[in-house]
């Protein structure tokens, strides 16, 4: 498991990173936490000439508040996100998803932005940020631009980040007081989810006022279960009502078939897991 030779660049500012990226273009790869890139390199599935490490850019780390939003630096580790009190208070769905993301070693190396930029539809962060209507801050030589989560995930492992751009932070609209649950279905603990459902719910006295539901590994990108979200509005947080609404969870999805289950089985799982996630999020 020896990667092909590459040159290693470690800029300390976003500007320098962008310059390096502009200079080496197609021959370069950005490394954040390295939890996906290193296996790719070691298995020689790719052999970039340059690897640009964002690890020394301090400004890309940390969680801050900006009005109605939380801003999570792209290089903040999963572990730091998972234990951040602001995230727990205003975006509990992310805290819940990170809790079961991979294993402790990966959570200490892997980064929030890196995982989202990798855009594996089985990754645990896509569905929660999609459900929370996050905005992705992408920086290029011309400055910053913001892309909604709905537009960020374009296809399998493909995002709106341009060749000469870097994902620098993710803005999460505060969902203060919303209940949240990430229902992850795996065979062994360290596995990618076969299917997972991210649900966050604003309940008013036993009634669901608003619901946001993201689906993991149910298509080539993270998906929203919008039909279920709408069907839940005004419903009591009871098993029966939520079960009925969750029946359409797999609507419009196109899940993969692999060793862990075929597409039909995943569609079935989505309905069961959506019910469980919503009920748990609603505290029922």
């Amino acid at each position: 498991m020896i990667p092909a030779q590459f040159d290693y660049l470690a800029p300390t500012t976003v500007e320098d990173a962008l310059v390096a990226l502009a200079e080496h273009g197609d021959d370069a790869k950005i490394i954040a936490g390295g939890q996906s890139l290193l296996p790719v390199l070691r298995m020689r599935l790719n052999a970039p000439e340059f690897v640009i490490d964002l690890g020394r850019i301090e400004s890309l780390r940390g969680v801050t508040e900006d009005g109605d939003a939380l801003v999570i630096g792209a290089m903040t580790t999963h572990s730091d996100v998972g234990t951040n009190p602001l995230v727990a208070e205003h975006a509990a769905l992310i805290t819940k998803a990170v809790e079961h993301l991979a294993d402790a070693q990966v959570r200490h190396r892997g980064t929030f932005g890196g995982a989202l930029a990798h855009a594996d539809p089985a990754g645990d962060l896509g569905a929660p940020v999609l459900a929370l209507d996050a905005e992705f801050v992408i920086t290029g030589s011309g400055g910053e631009r913001r892309v909604s989560a709905a537009d960020f995930f374009e296809d399998f492992m493909t995002t709106a980040i341009g060749d000469d751009e870097i994902l620098t932070s993710v803005r999460i609209p505060k969902h203060t007081g919303w209940g949240a649950h990430y229902e992850k279905f795996v065979r062994v603990a360290h596995q990618w989810p076969i299917v997972a459902v991210a649900a966050t719910v604003r309940a008013e006295g036993g009634t669901i006022a608003e619901a946001r539901i993201g689906l993991t590994n149910m298509g080539s990108t993270p998906l929203r279960a919008t039909t279920v979200e709408q069907a839940l509005v005004g419903q009591p947080a009871t098993d029966e009502a939520v079960r009925r609404a969750a029946e359409s969870a797999a609507e419009g999805t196109n899940p993969p078939s692999d060793l862990n289950g075929d597409a039909d089985y995943r569609r079935h799982l989505a309905t069961v897991l959506t019910r469980r996630a919503v009920l748990a999020a609603a505290g029922a």
Partner: protein, 820 residues
Amino acid sequence: MTVTEEPQMEIGRDRRRKEDQRLITGRTRWTDNITLPGMLHLAMVRSPFAHAKIVNIDTEEAKKAPNVVTVVTGKDLGEEQGSLPNAWPITPDQVTPPHPPVAIDRATFAGEIVAVVVARSAAEARDAAELVDVDYEELPAALDLKESAEDKVLAHPDLGTNKSALWVFDSADAGTGGNVDEAIAKAREDGIVIEREYRQQRLIPAFMEPRSTVVDPTGEQITMWSATQIPHILRFLLAAVLGVSESKVRVIAPDVGGGFGGKLQTTPEEFITMVLARRLGKPVKFTETRSESMMAAHHGRDQWQKLTLSAEKDGTVTGFKVELLADLGSHVSLVGGGVPVLGAFMFNAIYKFPAYHFQVQTVLTNKAWTDAYRGAGRPEATFGIERMMTELAAGLGVDPLEIREKNWIKHEEFPFTTVAGLEYDSGNYEAATALAKEHFGYDELRAEQQRRREAKDPVQLGIGVSTFTEMCGLAPSRVLGSLDYGAGGWEHATVRMLATGKVEVITGASAHGQGHETAFSQIVADRLGVPFEDVEVLHGDTQVAPKGLDTYGSRSLVVGGEALVRAADKVIEKARPIAAHLLEASADDLEFKAGRFGVRGTDQGMAMAEVALATFAAHNLPDGVEPSLDCDATYDPVNFNYPHGTHLCAMEVDTETGAVKMRKYTCVDDIGNVINPLIVAGQVHGGLVQGIAQALWEEAVYDDSGTLVSASFVDYLVPTAADTISFDVDHTTTPSLTNTLGTKGVGEAGTIASTPAVVNAVVDAIRQFGVNDVRMPCTPERVWKAINDGGGGDGGATTEAAAPHFDDSGDTAIADGAPE
């Protein structure tokens, strides 16, 4: 003189393992840590195709790469590389294809070596391997075991068949029982016949340390370090195959990071490293990657089992017929077809069957070759019979423990000769079962199961039973000879008394994680009355431990330990006349106790350490006595060794998703006397998890082009502590009668017993939906489909595709990622 206190016995103490500090921290001599002056490195070029003609190999570009010394193909090596050995041709007419370490004309599985790059660094070798241009012409591949058995596509076209050997045991022919077909015919009239077909999926041993070999040809002797379980067998076969004098070859297995049977092999990589080191006259190293290990180190299991059990209406079994297809993979490897044959004697398990028939057809395919994997033949057999006894109980509507009790050998019936012709020396199935039931809370869990059924709870409970026995302690040499195995089954030990009173113990067993250094120290400490700390156990180097047959088949303690006991006892007898001489007493008046020769009826005596020093000095020895206390013993077991136990498992099945969750696992194993309870607990826990993993998680899956789909730990699901529960482990003790210490093997027991216990529990939970089997591994998808298809469905096949988490289809500039 003071009265010596009775020292605490070492045997039975839960000593922490001596070897663990260095093994756990990794600060020790693993093969890959060895670096020699001028050492060269190898990288293998492997076939991506399951079956392909090698039309041409262009090595020119690779040879020009920086610091490449040479690139060789199978053609270049020719006869020099020899043919990898099969030590156990199970029938005289076994079809055994030649097995060159580097393929010459044809690649026969995806992963087979077709060329080798030698360079000054491992990275340069790897880089250059990418430049070797192989022109393949793809051939149809024999992949499916059943189809291959029908010779639809040939794995080796020139052989004309995929069928390697048909091995048969029939109790009527052997005179050990009746005619099974008659028993089945009679049961069809007035009894009950259970017929099932089970799949033993292919498994990957997945040892922690990938295989690694270093060869130094620069001395008078060629030295090979290898991450192997079998340094002695390897040395013998290197010499035999390559025509080097055995005396010129030294093999060292330094610390070895696990094996599970997966390092019970003489590998192409070892032969290639040896051949190239000799050719080049320089030290050479090869260390495989994890991907190579998954793809090309041998796999385990892989059988179809067609089973027919006949019984009277009262549940008394009258006959059992076993027809197996066993997938050898592309070649007949070291033990090869012998693995299923080891199961032939165990399908009858703990039961008194009057008639028995076993046959196995071994089959060549274009997949990685199979060989020993923890339990080797016995897990397959135990699964088959324990699933069938449960099905018989279900068919008759009685408790699965009741049907077992009706048919098992009662404890007063030992020694008992089975229908497979083995003599079981001891056992007490009643005691183990009673204790297990009590620990488990069997009746309470049955009551809860009933409540959940009645309430139509989405989570149903199932209870699985496995009352196993196994044959271990491989093996009486005469028995191996009668089965046409190419070697004996004895073991060797030496005890050396050093002048300082320390003891060096040399064993021919070759530990790779078992804890021999600790357990053997305990045995010798008690035997010679020396402190535990004063015993040093040496192993795994053919120059230090010149005789031995290595470690596998739960043999180290029951065979190697017995050799050790005998060598230690010889030391005492050798020391006795010297002690008598020095004490001026008659040897007959000496009593050896707690490390001291005492003169009966006096307080005079002499410690073993004093005798050792006096022997070393040799100033005052009796006439004609040599100045040495050192002794050897070679022990050939008279019988196998038969651990047994009762395993009870409760599984919860989420009927909405098919997810299964272990609720409780109790095992009561009878492994005779225990040397070190802590090591035994480790073996039992690890063994259980490995067997549970077969039931629930692990499977080596090939797609229809013959590519291994489960080729990394992303898709080959090895469990971690997070996936298991706390096991309830206890023992009954019926000492073995065939060795001095009364011990039985424990290395494989957990793995052999647990798989059917888990599957029986899963099936028990959902039998109410018309299900009578779930194919292993019992994935949630299979369980859910079995529930919803009803009608005896086993959940069937899964999609032979892996999740592409490391695909690199993403945008170049955004590579990183840190999903999981």
